[in-house]
Amino acid sequence: MSNAQFEIQLIASLVAIACAIPGTFLVLRKMAMISDAISHAILPGLVIGFFITQDLNSPLLILLAALTGVVTVILVERIQKTGLVKEDTAIGLVFPALFSIGVIMIAKNANDVHLDVDAVLLGELAFAPFDRLIVAGINIGPKSLWIIGTILTITVGLLIAFFKELKVSTFDAGLSASLGFSPVVIHYGLMTMASITTVGAFDAVGAILVVALMIAPAACAYLLTTDLKKMLGLAIVFGVFAAVSGYWVAHWLDASIAGSITTMLGVVFLIVYLFAPNKGLIAVMYREKQQRIEVSLLTFLLHLKNHNEKEERHVNHLNEHINWQKVKSKTVLDLALKNNMILIDDKIVALTDKGDEFTSKAIDYIITNEDAQIEDMKEDFFLFRG
């Protein structure tokens, strides 16, 4: 692995981390589309900043462009507040307008601005290592690395300092306000940070990848945990994984790095979406199937509890008596036997003590829906997990 290759992966990974942090909160605040709006709408800010500073990497340019991002958010909120259109419509109205202004500005001044629309959308990660930062005549590394490194440091610092404020205002804005943590201040703080990150990452990875890196890792993490800290950690892991693996995919296929990283994000999301242990598609389907069987089991046990007549409890008559069509009675019998809930003696089924107790508890739980005693049963039965 050459030095340039290493630097590209390092930049991509830092971008991924810097995006995953605000991205997690955007996803939780159901504001994923806002990051899309910001990433496109900062274009005019970039162009104007470039006219003023003549340097694509100047901090002033980054701040100016980030300001456009915040302006976008404010515009969207203003339009939405009129009550005439919904948020998604407002976003759809604002960012194409700003983006196209940016595109026209580039086209008009294309001769002296070294910016082009392709680069804006897809970035130039492959060239990032060639633009070095020279301080006092010493080459101290790629400029992009320094920019994104600085932004990441600020982001992590703010996250650590304001973690509890971000959490409470995202979860319950009313409580946050009444405790004195202004949700408005936190909201705009987050939007500013998301804008700065977008601008900083833009140059390296382009608008599309910025959005993907903000949203996809957080969306994956959301499916896997019920702990905000773990969600942040997982989002970072997924982002970095996609960045590094995407780089190598691009290398082998000789394709665009940004495109490959975005593809990897899609692949990771698909895998998580299918296989996540609790919220994943397969887990949900499996759980529903199990619940169906367990409902049948319970129906069956209840039937046994209520009927002492032998003919009602004969294995061969189960089907008629409890009218099972979908679930095979064998599955249910096996499940009950496996859990020592029934005894079969000469084809006559009888409840064991355990089965009897289980039935009472389960019925009690289903009726009251709040008995702490069956907490332990949740381990074994899907039925009792929400």
């Binding site: 404020e165 319950d172 409580l175 004195g180 008995d371």
Partner: protein
């Protein structure tokens, strides 16, 4: 078999000595004073010119039909909504100077239930106010949260994701969150919404305990039948304030009719 009764203290035997009786409270210090408050959404006023005085140490119900502005009133008192006119004072000072004195249980549905957080964590959020910006909760805050969970009978559920709790359990979590705030004034927006009789009794007993400890408790309440049994003060609200005062003096058909618009008959046992 059923351990619920031991889980929740439905019959508080560890009585806290009453700091003052209800009637004295009426004559005592004002916990909350609302003057000429008008609140609007998008320039359409939903509360008109409200004057309200809540004496310290009362357990007050706010009643009124859906859309009367009950939630709006509480949010305006708590500074969550900015009024277009009027002022609010908590023990004589503006709300933002008295935040630590006030706890709030929002109406159900105002939080993000799918947020990645567990019951214990939600209760801990009640301690954030006393911590202030940046400082993080520690052992002391966790202990307070666990105690509050114990008090509302939710300790066994402390690690449960909040959307996996039943409606009544969620309500208890929010009550616990208000309890850890250790405030002087509690605002609760329909804490009995969708809870069963056991939980309702458990909650009202906790509220009565709070009052005994000299706290002021203000509850948005819909079940008019239980007002005389649960509360000692009541405010009738429907866009305007209809009446406010001790339940035994003003909880009558006249005020109910004025508030609800139809001829109301509630059997009020005096």
């Amino acid at each position: 078999m059923n351990s619920r009764d031991t889980m929740i203290n439905t019959n508080p035997s560890n009585e806290i000595p009453a700091s003052q009786s209800v009637d004295e409270a009426g004559a005592g210090i004002l916990a909350v004073k609302v003057d000429d408050l008008t609140v609007a959404y998008n320039y359409k006023p939903v509360l008109w010119d409200i004057d309200l005085e809540i004496p310290e140490g009362v357990l007050m119900a706010i009643v009124g039909p859906n859309g009367a502005g009950k939630s709006t009133l509480i949010k305006a008192i708590l500074g969550i909504l900015k009024p277009i006119a009027g002022s609010v004072s908590i023990y004589g000072k503006p709300y933002h100077k008295q935040r630590s004195l006030v706890a709030y249980v929002p109406q159900k549905g105002s939080v993000d239930w799918d947020f990645p957080t567990v019951a214990l964590d939600v209760v801990m959020m009640g301690t954030y106010g006393s911590l202030g910006w940046i400082k993080r909760p520690g052992v002391k805050e966790k202990k307070a949260a666990l105690e509050a969970l114990e008090k509302v009978g939710m300790l066994p559920f402390k690690n449960r994701q909040i959307s996996q709790l039943s409606g009544g359990q969620q309500q208890r979590i929010f009550l616990a969150r208000a309890l850890v705030q250790d405030a002087s004034i509690y605002f609760m927006d329909e804490p009995f919404q969708g809870v069963d009789a056991t939980t309702e009794i458990a909650i009202i007993n906790i509220l009565k305990e709070l009052r005994k400890a000299g706290k002021t408790v203000v509850v948005v309440h819909h079940d008019l039948q239980t007002v005389p049994e649960y509360f000692d003060w009541v405010t009738f609200l429907n866009v305007k304030k209809i009446a406010t005062g001790p339940v035994k003096d003003i909880f009558n058909d006249d005020n109910l009719t004025k508030t609800y618009g139809i001829n109301y008959k509630v059997s009020v046992q005096k």
